[in-house]
Symmetry: C5
Subunit: 250 residues, 5 copies
């Protein structure tokens, strides 16, 4: 018993446990990303600081949950879906806030923010029902959940987010919205695939591992999302500073 | 036994445990809100920084207590009322301090602060007696406790808080007081409902869950309270900065 | 046994445990006060920052010890005197440093600092002997310990602290010294009362609880001490800034 | 059993456990180095701050993993290779980012960054296979892994990193690239030696200890890497400041 | 058993355990000192900030090790020499760095730094052998170790540290070197005494307690060392600022 107890307390990763490996790297990379976004925040123009703060909060919240999930995995070799949805309940709406913060200085409306948040909450609640509460109809709920996802993609591709961003005199804004849209379109596309690998899902017999897909998807999407915003902030800050210098010299 | 011990140490959330879900999201969202308020503090005018600091302390204190309550819930599927009152003993007076800090630059008096703190302490002490020490007369104590609640609402709706705020040349102050008053009136109204669902309370047979109501109420009220102050601080800082720029150009 | 073990690990507060309640609020309020003093430090004039830092260190050190004492209390329903004296060994001399920092810019001498620290060490060592090492003669040691206490009161009421403070052109300094003196005179007066409630002490049969008295006394004195310094710093910073603005306009 | 349990919880280092000793000093020195790099960051020119942040993240990530490995070592007197590869998966690409950040202001291309990261990932993946998944062919995988290592050395000695650095008007950049290259060439050379001491490796019968070699190598390489960047940042900041002063005086 | 287990987890200090008392105060005072040095760092001239950072790192590293040693002491009433040497391996060279940072702006050479570090490593390695690996010849190793100690004293009293400091136009530098030298001469003299109280040492039969001597010595030396540097930094910053003001007025 002592040996087992010690393994609980020490949480030793077993050789060849690739999924456990990704829980560890997910936890550490998101934690390091938070420190990065929080510290680089002071190096960009004031108007970009709230965006970088939100980037850091997204990875920080994820890091805390990966820390928990990592421990549960080591002990039980399972990872309850609950923790992922707790994480997403907080981080996905914050990702929608990132879209809004980009277009806010150029006339973006709070109604756009609420619409994005509404889509994301709809997507998460129906997805959660399909995974945890009504798994018998997982395909149906997955399809319903996808409607919320489509809503976010629409806003960023054709809707008001895209329209306001295109009118911004700041070229980084338009580029950042396009890149973030790509993350939603391509990066978030990983989650439905994970969803379909559940027993009863479309890809349920292919033997793909849900946790592995989610772990890689989360790290790429959350850190990538933040890096796009960071890149826009740095480029915009640099351009503004050149403009000021030119004006002073002239 | 080992399995049970490990479940203590790992605190694994069970599928479908919606109340446990809200303990986790309450903890994480309040923690993230504290980081947000503390970091955005440097972006607003000096006179607003103490207000944002208090906003962050309120959510920070709540986050620590939700961390505890979360652990106790996972283990025992109960949540002792004691922890909530320890939290409220510190956070409700700090919310009253927020009202005072808003009106202080425009002639708000410390007597107003002490009156608000007095009402809140009265409300909490009598509420605690009704919930923990004298549950046989829970309805009576609930009614007495409500008097303190009415006192705070009065101050913010008709009393000195409202009066001083209306005289402020800063339009954000008056708006913030009105919004915070609404949180007290509507948001804090959740707590008496929770109170009445106790055995012996007016709604004691309706099967509502006290913890679920409290968890949602706390997160909405504490983060919302802070966001109202943050919104006023950002708007006021922006307006002042435009004024300075105009003066410089003229 | 598992149940007991879990209660250790979770440290669940029992309903009606008022002393445990004050251990929790003491811990949280001192922790929050430290964050407050550390963060507000950047808002006051440079010369006040060391004072605010010391204020924050005092409550931080106390918070750490209350965290320990809280855990010990939950488990054993006792609180070893050792922890309190470890806390006081560090925080009481730091409170004496606060007096010194107030008068230092106006000619306060380091000899005054050493005298204050000497009195406080004398008070603590003899008090500790009376409580832990030679409890048979607790009354005698209590009387001896009081001499150190009188020394600190003397310095702040008639001695060099008072004299230098009165010569300061900064009115906040003199006021702060008077208020801190009152904390020593009235607030610290709680401790001898606690001391006398020990078995063999003068009030040993009155059934007062030593820990309850200490918990309330510590929170009021340490946070109050810091708030007095904070108030002086804010008032002085504001006055100086008005003076500078007037000079610029003239 | 209690005694054993307590040794788990307390993690007492045994006298003469030199490897355990280096796990402790590795953990503490990397943690202290992170605090150093993060705090000194504000003392150098803005363009060097991201480099110092990355230096601090590298040692911070290593500190966290050494904290884990230290605990596992105390309990089991072994150290799973998994933890080292989790660490390296994050820190080695970040070291490549350091090279890129040095040459970026002088025309360094992102293609160079991706090439460096690609080499490092290749080196780590094939190395991991040789150590954990296919230990029967450890020599073969070690040789393959070395190709990635050679790629990094090539870039820094003859390739685009070296070329761009030499064109920089800032002499510190060229010097820093040369020093970092030396760390890769000499410092990283420790790892293959460690690799060859595995059973089945070239030096497998010499009784050298893999963990001792890795612990010393990690501390020297990671802190040294950061100190080279720090030295360049300080020298460059000082030179720029002298230039500005001279211009002002002229 | 539960009671014993709880005492492990709670680490309750026993009444009259004076050595345990000093482990606690050592831990807390060094932690508080680190916060002090890190925060006051922003109040002194840029050139002093690295010195204050090193001061804070020294006490921070010591605080972490005292935290461990405190726990081990509570459980076992012993304190393995290993932890002290792990601490000193990192902090004593950092104290040598403090000497170097003082004289660096006035022509101090890195060769002086390496000599100091070399002496300290020699002193520690031979001291460790005498205490842990070859206790039969503890007197011999103690004598050898003293040679390293004499080397550091020589450098600071007659050697290059002293010579460069005397040539500094900044009077605080020369004073600080003299005070730090006194710490080495008098304060570090505590350690050999502790060493001689070992069984087989010169004072082995006098019943002195090694841990008590080390705990008091560490706190006095490490915090005192930092305070000397802090005092020099504050005095130098003030003098420079007066000089600048005089120049502006003239």
């Amino acid at each position: 018993m002592l040996n087992q107890l010690s393994s609980i307390l020490l949480e030793v990763l077993q050789p060849g446990d690739v999924i456990g490996f990704t829980f560890f790297t997910g936890y550490m990379s998101m934690f390091a990303a938070s420190v990065f976004f929080f510290m680089e925040r002071s190096e960009v123009d004031g108007k970009w600081r709230t965006s970088l703060l939100i980037s850091g909060l997204i990875t920080m919240i994820a890091a805390v949950h990966y820390f928990y999930m990592r421990g549960v995995w080591l002990e039980t070799k399972t990872s309850p879906t609950e923790f992922r949805y707790i994480d997403w309940t907080l981080t996905v709406p914050l990702m929608c806030v990132e879209f809004y913060l980009l277009i806010k200085p150029y006339g973006g409306k709070t109604s756009t923010l609420w619409r994005l948040v509404g889509y994301s909450v709809f997507m998460l609640v129906t997805g959660y029902i399909g995974e945890s509460i009504d798994p018998a109809r997982t395909v149906l709920w997955g399809a319903v959940s996808t409607l919320g996802y489509i809503g976010i993609v629409y806003e960023a591709t054709l809707g008001s987010v895209k329209q306001v961003a295109d009118q911004s005199p700041n070229p980084e804004v338009s580029k950042a919205v396009r890149l973030l849209r790509n993350f939603v379109l391509i990066g978030w596309g990983i989650y439905p695939i994970g969803y379909m690998t559940m027993p009863g899902g479309l890809l349920g017999n292919m033997g793909l591992n849900l946790d592995l897909i989610y772990n890689i998807g989360d790290a790429v999407n959350k850190i990538g999302f933040g890096l796009v915003v960071y890149g826009a902030a740095v480029a915009s800050t640099k351009r503004e500073s050149v403009k000021v210098m030119t004006a002073v010299n002239a």
